[in-house]
Amino acid sequence: MAPPETERVTPLLEVESLTKHFPVRRGLFGWSPQLVRAVDAVSFTVEAGGTLGLVGESGCGKTTTSRLILGLERPTAGTIRFEGRDVLALDREGVRHYRRSVQAVFQDPYASLDPRMRVGAVVAEPVVINTNLDAAARRRRVAELLDLVGLPERSASLYPHEFSGGQRQRIAIARALALSPRLVVLDEPVSALDVSIRAQILNLLRDLQKRLGMSYLFIAHDLAAVAHMSRSIAVMYLGQIVEWGDADAVALEPRHPYTKALFTAALPADVDAPREEVVLIGEVPSPLAPPSGCRFHTRCPFVMPHCATQEPALRSESGRLVACHLY
């Protein structure tokens, strides 16, 4: 699937019809035929050096998608292509290379660092596992990485609990960069931090991207932050992508009703500027039993009769892709 409105360069990461279903266990022994359709035929691309923002609420599948890309889960169907090669068909050497090239930073700064390891060991761990560098070379690399994220070298001999939340995220970023990855999955990297610290970390992430040229998959629910950081945005709902396009276009002129509702919640630059406000009715349906036709139709303020029977396909509209019968 081609990224809308951009040149035809081989993207760094290409995901096609990615699907992950989880069987639901019922009772002590049985596995019922019910499935959680966590991710359902999702396709998108991430360009080299760019940032794709992935937004959606709970149950939309963005976390599962990130886990699939990180190799923490295996897809039920679909392909993941990295640097043009099918990730699921790689040999051992290829898998190792993939692991080194794709790293992650997670949301909770208190759970992502082993409390029993010194910071130096935490940051060096990927290097220890994947290279043959001797202790001195590792120490140098750790110092280099800590410097990159703005922490003093002596941090290496301290324990994680001696640092604040923001500083811990910096350590997590340093670790993610240890193997010079080409893609970093950022799963809500600043949501657990104080507002005044978020700006520091977001700025750091952008600076690092400019310096080192890696791509980001930026998952967050702070939509203004996503719009600020990303070049393109994909909006997910109940396991599917409902809108995908250039960040400014999607954020400022959303087309899909769900995207409109989401961005209604974000803080605009000018509080007085007129905006189309969309407030949804009802609850998020369970991924166990997604609604028929367009999965969003049960909450859509613009619902039409055939929305309940026909699933809309992603179509090109005003420079981005939208899955909605309105278009």
Binding site: L70, G71, L72, R96, R99, R100, V102, Q103, A104, F106, Q107, D108, P109, Y110, A111, S112, L113, D114, P115, R116, M117, V122, E125, P126, I129, N130, H161, S164, G165, G166, A172, R175, A178, L179, A192, L193, D194, I197
Partner: protein
């Protein structure tokens, strides 16, 4: 410092959650002292003992302890029905009890922790299978097993250690597995995987250090339990065979004379109580101190 939503507003910010009274800060010198005393006594028994614990003297049987009017300093804690010195027997008995305690617990904890780690890490069928074995083991009474062993193979020091360990490991397995399940949810484990770590590295480098606290607390608390079990076994005749001094069998020997020569049963019982109490208090203190939420402060 960072915004922590969980727990609601009634939870004080992290920095202030420490109770002002400093609970958990005072090192429990008395339990530690007691344990050290018994360990030293056991280790140095040949040096400090007033005599040979096996030496019988029917002439001196049932001598009361020194503070009684009929007691003598030659036998500070009196003698038993065969005239053997009580203090000597208690000191040598400490060797038995502590040795059984240490060995059984170390054996059981190693095996149990390993099972718990593997079950928690792999989950799924491996976990299910291991936990069924664990559950079955947990339901088997220690004393029964020891009795069976005593009757079939004959009572001995080794049999006691084996009998206890074979049942005890299940307790560790369960607890450690629980800890591991919680740890597996934390992001740093996923991060290790993303960095390319395999099962061995994750278990040894990440899971073991983070379960060590629980393990230490459990071990400390279990030593007391094992000592009591050993005493019970010896009391029943299924433990350490006579004439080796063991606190449990000493209590058994004095059973018929509780009203007249009360010290024969009472003093070994007191020794058991003190040692077990000391280990329990130490274990409690360790649990409070090693609780990570309090530890960070």
């Amino acid at each position: 410092m960072a915004a922590e939503p969980a727990g609601g507003t009634l939870a004080l910010p992290e920095a202030v959650a420490a109770p002002v009274r400093g609970r958990g800060r005072h090192v429990p010198w008395i339990p530690i002292g007691l344990i050290a005393l018994f360990v030293a006594a056991a280790a140095l028994a040949p040096l400090v003992s007033p005599g040979d614990p096996y030496a019988q003297s029917l002439r001196n049987r049932f001598t009361p302890p020194v503070w009684d009017e009929r007691g003598t300093w030659a036998h500070p804690l009196g003698t038993d029905r065969l005239g053997r010195d009580m203090l000597a027997r208690i000191l040598y008995g400490a060797r038995v009890s502590l040795a059984v305690g240490a060995l059984a617990v170390l054996l059981a904890s190693s095996v149990g922790a390993a099972v718990g780690l593997v079950a928690g890490y792999y989950g799924g069928r491996v976990d299910a299978a291991l936990m069924r074995i664990t559950d079955a083991t947990l339901s088997f009474p220690v004393i029964l097993l020891a009795l069976i062993l005593a009757v079939t193979v004959g009572p001995s020091f080794l049999n006691v250690v084996i009998a206890i360990s074979v049942i005890l490991w299940a307790r560790y397995a369960r607890v450690i597995r629980g800890e591991v399940l919680t740890l597996m949810q934390l992001d740093f484990i996923a991060q290790a995987r993303i960095a390319g770590a395999g099962a061995w590295r994750i278990i040894t480098r990440h899971l073991v250090p983070n379960t060590l606290n629980t393990l230490v607390v459990l071990i400390t608390l279990q030593v007391g339990y094992v000592i009591i079990v050993e005493a019970a076994l010896s009391f029943l005749g299924a433990g350490i065979p006579p004439p080796t001094p063991a606190w449990g069998s000493m209590i058994a020997e004095g059973r018929d004379f509780v009203t007249s020569a009360w010290w024969v049963s009472f003093l070994p019982g007191l020794a058991i109580m003190l040692v077990v109490l000391a280990f329990n208090l130490l274990g409690d203190w360790l649990r409070d101190t090693l609780d990570p939420k309090l530890r960070q402060l």
